[in-house]
Subunit: 331 residues, 2 copies
């Protein structure tokens, strides 16, 4: 006997939507169906306030409808934005997201093991530990770092972004530019920004110098590098590409302390597309990473059933946005 106020079942949803039970199941489980079917099922789900009991469903299907996201933290604005958009991409497919912030790279292995033992359906990870062990039966999608041919990697097109930065500086009238980098020396995707920038400089005839620090080297090395290139109060560079907006932010402060005006004396372009607050302007002129598209791609690749069809590396297009540290107005 069914009471008037019983919890709606998948059958009720199928009846309401006028589709087969299997179609509802597919939609609920994130398996592609025709757009019009998906919309009808989603409408019925909403109307009946049908709730997937993922826990019970997990026991039955040996699925948990849960995905773990490994990130260093959510305080860095780029990671914060990734966490938000991956969360939205999962929730709209009725998957739950476990957030695992990895204070240091030692914890990455611990959380991956934990996630596997908790039988998550997959893991999306932005990790730094070069020796991570990932069991083959746990689907994994890596962000920004290739981890072998069986694990898809999703990233911005970092090479094209570096090249775009050089081209923009050339368009903006620069002739003598610098590339500044600090960070992990791990062989990861963002490190392609350098090669792309060099390529752009060469193709546009820009002279360039590079100053590259590894994690742990003092920031003052940049200050010294810049000071060494000041003669009679003038910086010999008219453009600087910084490998992240965070670095650009610090470099702009340093330039101002050295009595150089940005963008009048030197134009600066960063990378990432960070804003102080959502909706506020960018912190600098920047190559913007397509975070919502990266999130969608990670989730799609992770939940795709046909593993053999998964591409090893997906690079998504970046865009340039002026953020007040370049001289667009004058051209």
């Amino acid at each position: 006997m069914k009471s008037e106020h019983s919890v709606p079942t998948m059958k009720d949803v199928a009846r309401e939507a006028g589709v087969a039970l299997g179609t509802v199941s597919k939609v609920v489980n994130g398996i592609p169906v025709g757009e019009s079917y998906r919309l009808r099922v989603e409408e019925a789900i909403k109307k009946l306030n049908y709730q997937v009991n993922s826990y019970a469903q997990g026991l039955k299907a040996n699925k948990t409808y849960t995905v773990a996201l490994l990130l260093p933290n959510t305080e860095d604005p780029f990671f914060a934005s990734l966490a938000y958009h991956i969360n939205l991409s999962l929730l709209k497919r009725r998957y739950r997201m476990l957030l695992c912030c990895t204070v240091n790279s030692d914890q990455e292995q611990e959380y991956i093991t934990m996630a596997q033992q908790n039988k998550v359906d997959g893991i999306i990870g932005l990790t730094y530990n070069p020796n991570l062990q990932i069991e083959e039966n746990t689907p994994f999608v890596a962000i920004d770092r290739s981890m072998g041919s069986k694990i898809p990697c999703v990233a911005s097109d970092n090479f094209a972004g570096g090249q775009l930065a050089a081209e923009k500086l050339a368009d903006l009238g620069c002739t003598n530019v610098a590339f500044l980098r600090i960070g992990s020396s791990l062989d990861n995707e963002p490190n392609k920004r350098k090669a792309g920038f060099e390529n752009g400089c060469l193709s546009r005839g820009l002279s360039y110098k590079m100053k590259i620090l590894n994690d742990g080297e003092p920031f003052e090395e940049f200050t010294r590098f810049l000071s060494e290139h000041i003669h009679d109060g003038r910086l010999s560079f008219d453009g600087i590409f910084c490998v992240t907006d965070r670095l650009a932010y610090l470099i702009i402060k340093t330039l101002r302390q050295l009595n150089l005006r940005v963008p009048e004396d030197v134009q600066v372009i960063g990378f990432d597309g960070i804003r102080v607050f959502p909706g506020a302007e960018h912190v600098c002129s920047t190559i913007v990473q397509p975070v919502p598209e990266i999130a969608e791609m990670c989730v799609n690749l992770l939940l795709q059933e046909n593993i053999s069809a998964k591409p090893p590396l997906v690079c998504l297009p970046v865009t340039y946005v002026s953020g007040g540290t370049t001289r667009e107005g004058e051209i």
Copy 2:
């Protein structure tokens, strides 16, 4: 028969640590034990690489060792910091955290229902929907908003923070100040900043004016308000308290567009303690919310077994930090 490489069990941990099995169980489940016991157990867990199988454990104990966090998003820097610290507080107790970003307040009820059906052990929520229904058997801790006597609310001491802002402006030589607010008119904890500020102004003899906008009212109302208080190029306020750092950030931009210098012509204090990047300076002089302490308190209250002992409202102390939009140097 036990193989050499079998997965370590709780018994192995107890043997390694030299403690009773029950002590290991308590540590693993986040139940307080003596500090020295906890350290020994944690060391043994690390040494043996013991992994709690929360999923199996959940089936046995009817517990999932999972907590859901409801937040509007992780792109706003204050929410991003909350998500990070709550994640750390849960992970160190070996609880998993489901992140549920609620793009709009309609979704809050949906995610709470979903979390309940997924049998999470509890929910921590920073929500705006005034009509949320929460089942009594799901422990819930609210951030920034009282939701009835059975649901503990954790917040900064917003009243004291407002008062501190007024006192600081008085200490910094201001005599005629303004209070600016935009946001939800919901009866929540952050709205006590206004009363605290008024109280501080009265006790220190500051003249003050207030300009309060509701969500949806155009920001230009603030520009008009400020313009109306400029006579012969001078603003009649020498200090402004903005209800958030985000508002302060926008107001400082507006003041500069009105040819007013910050902090020379007018000093500005915000609220929250936002930095552009972790470790960078604050975006303005500000009342800093104790985010790690808020996170710990939420998790402690949520996982505390004895419900009757839970306080209805916990207000945690705030601090003032100069961030370049006030004139500390001159005093």
